[in-house]
Amino acid sequence: MNEMLETMDPIISARGLTKKYGRTVAVDNIDLDVPVGRIIGLIGPNGAGKTTALKAILGLATFDGELSVLGLDPSRQRSKLMEDVCFIADVAVLPRWIRVWQLIDLTEQIHPRFNRDRCMEYLAKTKIGQDKKVKHLSKGMVAQLHLALVMSIDARLLVLDEPTLGLDILYRKAFYTNLLNDYFDEERTILITTHQVEEIEHILTDLVFIQDGKIALDCSMEDVETRYCELMVTPEKADQARTLGPLTERQMFGRHIFLFEGKDKASLSELGEVRTPSVADLFVATMEGGAT
């Protein structure tokens, strides 16, 4: 992380964040700092506590521990917080009875940072009719509509919880392209959870893995590149690679693939082909208890 960012207060800061449902601990004593101007992928298996953590951050759930978002306490100051935070849960949360123009009118009246002209510009690029009810739009159109609303709000933090769930590949691609080209800048922060890791990995600046309510990995993408590498070797050299202490090993097309942490890439490349692991591979390795 560069120096300027380090001197700024984190946009989200959690200390000992915990959320229990009865005896189940959904979020277990999390410490997290999210600096301004980053795109963070919050990744974890089903039931790991991602959505619960997001809900705490958005003031949608009570919690134990300390949590500050934009300097506010989300559970007490949700209304104030939402002036600077936008949130897309998944494609299905826009009220189904509402008409597009009513939705725009309401958002304009309620949201101090909403820009109607921008919203109209985005919508003009879609096939969404102003007089249509949300329930008569396709899933993809609802996602486009919600994104158009959110991108027209000058917010500082955007939280996306599985925003492209159930959309086809074209909509998913367009969704992230729009987000990156028309919305993101150094002053904004985006927090994303999704199962489709492959699709967002190239836009992320930071990775946070959650497992069983705990943070399993928290590092920037640059760190991923320097810290982790994948070595692909032929079976003859597999034993030699194993002596170097890989985190994981798997086989593909008769080749052995090893994941290493903190090893010198130049020396590894003498054994075989070295590359940066994909987020998905790193995720699997972390969940299996390898990486730290």
Partner: protein, 317 residues
């Protein structure tokens, strides 16, 4: 303020069917009924002979009597509107904090910078002001249309509708009184509104059952235990609710007491002597400044605080 108006707007949009279409349908039934009466009369009354006689007889009555009858008719015609209004508000409030949890759109509403307090206030305001105002507006329109139809009929038999009834009716007094009882009725109903919002804020499903079953079961138990102990049916929750209903400052029934000069429509249901049931502003305020009302307001405050507590914690599951 702007945000509050926007939230009210939202409630109106979302509940257009209940708040706008329903009263229009009732008004339509009145108007169609009036037109059917006109055509039936025209069809079976030979050259409108009977109708002419009736108008002639009516014209002979004193102005005072005609004015009184007209006033009672205006008030009486509101009863159907009032009862439907109560049903509409009942189901509106049951769904008010439940529907968006069920369809998950609460996640969208809570992503807007509005507080839960403001949200609940907008729902309460819709039940107490917007709904009665919508019903009252359509009722007034219905009165005007029916007065026009009546005037045409009376003109057609060469009488002057202006002197016969238009000039002596007191529509503004009647509308004012109906409006007063609508809003007073809403204040009177606050404990129930609060209860419905509370149920709506936490019920995991079928809020109707959660709203109706607990008081029913509790009353049933009270009646049973009371009967076992004393073999009488003393005070119980059901009795309290029933009494609360009959004391309502709303025009709900006609007062039929032999020899009672007041006669005509009545506030609530005149079954006991606790209040005066004739429709006057003084009697409406008598109820609003009663001990019963004070207890009701305290209950309403408790229920609403509960609703707020649940709403604060509510998400999509």
């Amino acid at each position: 303020m702007n945000r509050f108006l926007a939230l009210l707007q939202r409630e109106f949009w979302e509940n257009k069917g209940a708040l706008r279409t329903t009263p229009i349908v009732i008004g339509g039934i009145y108007v169609i009924g009036a037109l059917m009466a006109v055509f039936t009369t025209a069809h079976i009354d030979n050259e409108l002979y009977t109708f002419k006689e009736a108008v002639r007889l009516a014209a002979q009555q004193s102005v005072d009597l005609r004015a009184d009858v007209l006033y009672q008719m205006l008030l009486g015609s509101s009863v159907f509107f009032t009862i439907v209004l109560w049903f509409v508000v009942f189901f509106y409030l049951l769904g008010a904090l439940y529907d968006d949890r069920k369809d998950r759109s609460i996640l969208f509403w809570k992503s807007l910078p509005t507080s839960d307090t403001l949200t609940i206030a907008s729902k309460l305001m819709t039940a107490m002001v917007i709904a009665p105002a919508a019903f009252l507006a359509v009722l007034i329109l219905t009165h005007i249309v029916i007065a026009l139809i009546g005037s045409v009929m009376i003109l057609s038999v060469d009488h002057n509708p202006w002197t016969l009834f238009l000039s002596i009716s007191q529509p503004f007094k009647a509308w004012g009184m109906i409006g007063l009882t609508y809003f007073a009725g809403a204040i009177w109903a606050l404990p129930v509104f609060g209860w419905l919002l509370l149920v709506s804020s936490f019920a995991p499903r079928v809020p109707l059952l959660f709203a109706v079953l607990p008081p029913l079961v509790l009353s049933g138990l009270q009646i049973w235990i009371g009967f076992l102990r004393t073999f009488t049916f003393d005070d119980n929750l059901w009795g309290i609710i029933a009494r609360w209903f009959i004391h309502s400052p709303s025009i709900l029934t006609a007062q039929v007491e032999d020899g009672d000069p007041r006669g005509g429509v009545a506030l609530g249901v005149p079954l006991d002597d606790k209040y005066d049931y004739s429709v006057t502003a003084a009697n409406v305020f008598d109820r609003l400044f009663s001990l019963e009302m004070l207890v009701g307001l305290i209950l309403a405050a408790i229920f609403l605080a509960g609703a707020l507590w649940f709403r604060h914690r509510a998400t999509d599951n």
